[in-house]
Symmetry: C2
Subunit: 354 residues, 2 copies
């Protein structure tokens, strides 16, 4: 019997919190009997909701949090005045080791700032990154960073590669994930200094990373590699561009099908296939972006998700805990440090690995 995992939950974060949160816990605990929850938020509201969700009630312990972080709070405001918020107290439970993972559907900037301050960076990692997985023509793919860091140097990108590779192995169950850096061309001479230097480090390293060099934007959808490494500015824009394009195509598919009788009849007959298409790209299946690189598992659920999506985010966090995700990264980072030290001795290129 695997020892139970305790997850701390920001009970008040998300567009439809706290109802959606409790329903999500209900779904998650029906599927996995091995999770306990510490749920932070308004005690009265939460206990009232739990009486209507008997499965969740059995595995939840409510902890009262007098404040909450709003969706528009600036990270600095949240840090300063949110010390007794449901989000902060849920993070603190991971810090104090009462819980092994925290899940929040609240304000992303605030969660990032609070988690980084409270949990601190893992040894060997200089910046946390946001990572998630999404569907491609060739199975699922992992991309990071998706917005935690606007500007990144080569060293940050190399660390993202290490964390992304472990994430693909343990979250997506890919045996030897291939890793590439997102660039404007696949030739070595293209791109900015950071991507070129990061590629050079990964090429030379003895890390157990199957490094495939550079990929371009269209390789994301093709599924050319399992892990795509990029800075947070480009990654955020690429992910949102993909979401927007997906909506654009389905918008015109629906429009053209609905504008003629034959289109309508054809769509009716082909409905099971069209439903498969919709569920294949259902964002709830991919809900739960992780903030990696911290001393603790921190999962960001989409703010607008429903109970099904929130349950997915919980499952994703539990999986990382059970697989000992952070420990594996630490082991890999030690190998990276060895490479780094050798490299510095050999070539004295301290600059890029400061």
């Amino acid at each position: 019997m695997v020892s139970p995992v305790t997850v701390s939950i920001d009970g008040m974060g998300g567009d439809d919190a706290p109802e959606m949160i409790i329903e999500g816990i209900e779904l998650a605990c029906k599927k996995n009997k091995n999770i306990n929850f510490l749920i932070f938020g308004d005690e009265t509201i939460l206990s009232d909701l739990l009486t209507r969700h008997p499965n969740a009630q059995e595995v939840c312990e409510i902890r009262h949090a007098p404040d909450m972080v709003s969706m528009d709070d600036k990270p600095t405001t949240a840090l300063r005045s949110g010390k007794r918020s449901s989000m902060r107290l849920a993070i603190d439970a991971v810090k104090s080791k009462e819980a092994s993972a925290v899940v929040s559907a609240g304000n992303t900037g605030a969660l990032m700032a609070m988690a980084t301050i409270a949990l601190k960076m893992m040894p060997g990692i200089s910046r946390p990154a946001i990572v998630t997985s999404f569907p491609t023509q060739n199975g699922d793919c992992v991309m990071l960073d998706l917005g935690a860091n606007i500007e990144c140097n080569a060293n940050n990108l190399v660390q993202f590669a290490v964390m992304g590779e472990v994430f693909a192995r343990y979250e997506l169950d890919i045996d030897h994930p291939s890793v590439a850096i997102l660039n404007v061309g696949v030739e070595g001479l293209k791109g900015n200094v950071a991507v070129k230097e990061a590629a050079a480090i990964l090429q030379k390293s003895t890390l157990p990373v199957k490094f495939a060099g550079f990929v371009e934007g269209d390789d994301i959808g093709k599924g050319t590699v399992d892990v795509i490494v990029t800075d947070g500015f480009t990654g955020n824009i690429a992910l949102k561009t993909a979401e927007g394009t997906s909506k654009l195509i389905t918008f015109f598919l629906k429009k053209f099908l609905s504008e003629s009788w034959m289109g309508k009849i054809g769509a009716l007959i082909a409905r099971p296939a069209l439903t498969r298409l919709r569920s294949h790209f259902d964002p709830r299946r991919y809900n739960g972006a992780m903030l990696v690189g911290l001393n603790g598992i921190c999962v960001k659920s989409h703010g607008g998700t429903d109970a099904i999506g929130f349950a997915h985010a919980i499952e994703a966090g539990v999986k990382l805990v059970e697989q000992n995700f952070n420990e594996v990264i630490k082991q890999d980072l030690i190998k990276l440090t060895d490479v780094r030290e050798n490299k510095n001795l050999e070539s004295n290129e301290n600059g890029i690995l400061n």
Copy 2:
């Protein structure tokens, strides 16, 4: 009667050149009787092809070019040893004012390097940009830079905004195009230094630019604004991510429709609607990216396009010539210079507008 436009053509550039090129000219000149062509390349091959295309033959003058730039040539190689290539001689015809625009389906890097060296930057512009238009939920949209500049400062982005706005007005016939900068959030405090400074300059300027602040990646497909300004690294990745996502969705649409009898029958009945979808996103309709900011109109056709796509690229170039595109930009840049000078006097922020 409008005076005829002379377009110089790189007869040897593109995967299916020179056949595709001559067929493209044939299509373009049937549609617009007001174009003459100077076509550069192997004289024997080109004249042989022209005998089979009587409409094109009538408006084409062949100029022999002994060399050609290959698709894998590095820009530096092309610059050094491609002085008598069809691409370079076609560009030179714009420089000598024999032609008003050049169209090439050849090597993008080489075209950019050669055109920049031969035609030189327009006064007031420090970097050329690649611009194109594409479909959104809300009409067509313009984006630049798509890869000419890996790193951009605020000043570059402001110049791109000016050029993109004129491009949307004259190429897409939008009366008062709205312009925004691509960013990781719409709030003013998000993003890197370049986007924040560029936004501040555009906000304060008296330019006739309807500046809408920041947009995010998903706004590209939504068509939130008419012109999206970004650096070449992000723009290239965003555009290719959109292309890849579009292929990803259609891949699964076809797959799921073909995997059941009902899917197949439904697709057959709805075929006209599905054909409309395909032609709505037909990349040939949007073929022809412009290299803007130079003393001359330079159009880059997709290397793998066919005659229909190449004809579109010719039409796009001719339209810019007829609309006096570069002159309009020059007028707007004078206004920008005025703003810049006032701004410098007022705030002494020379740094960002050096």
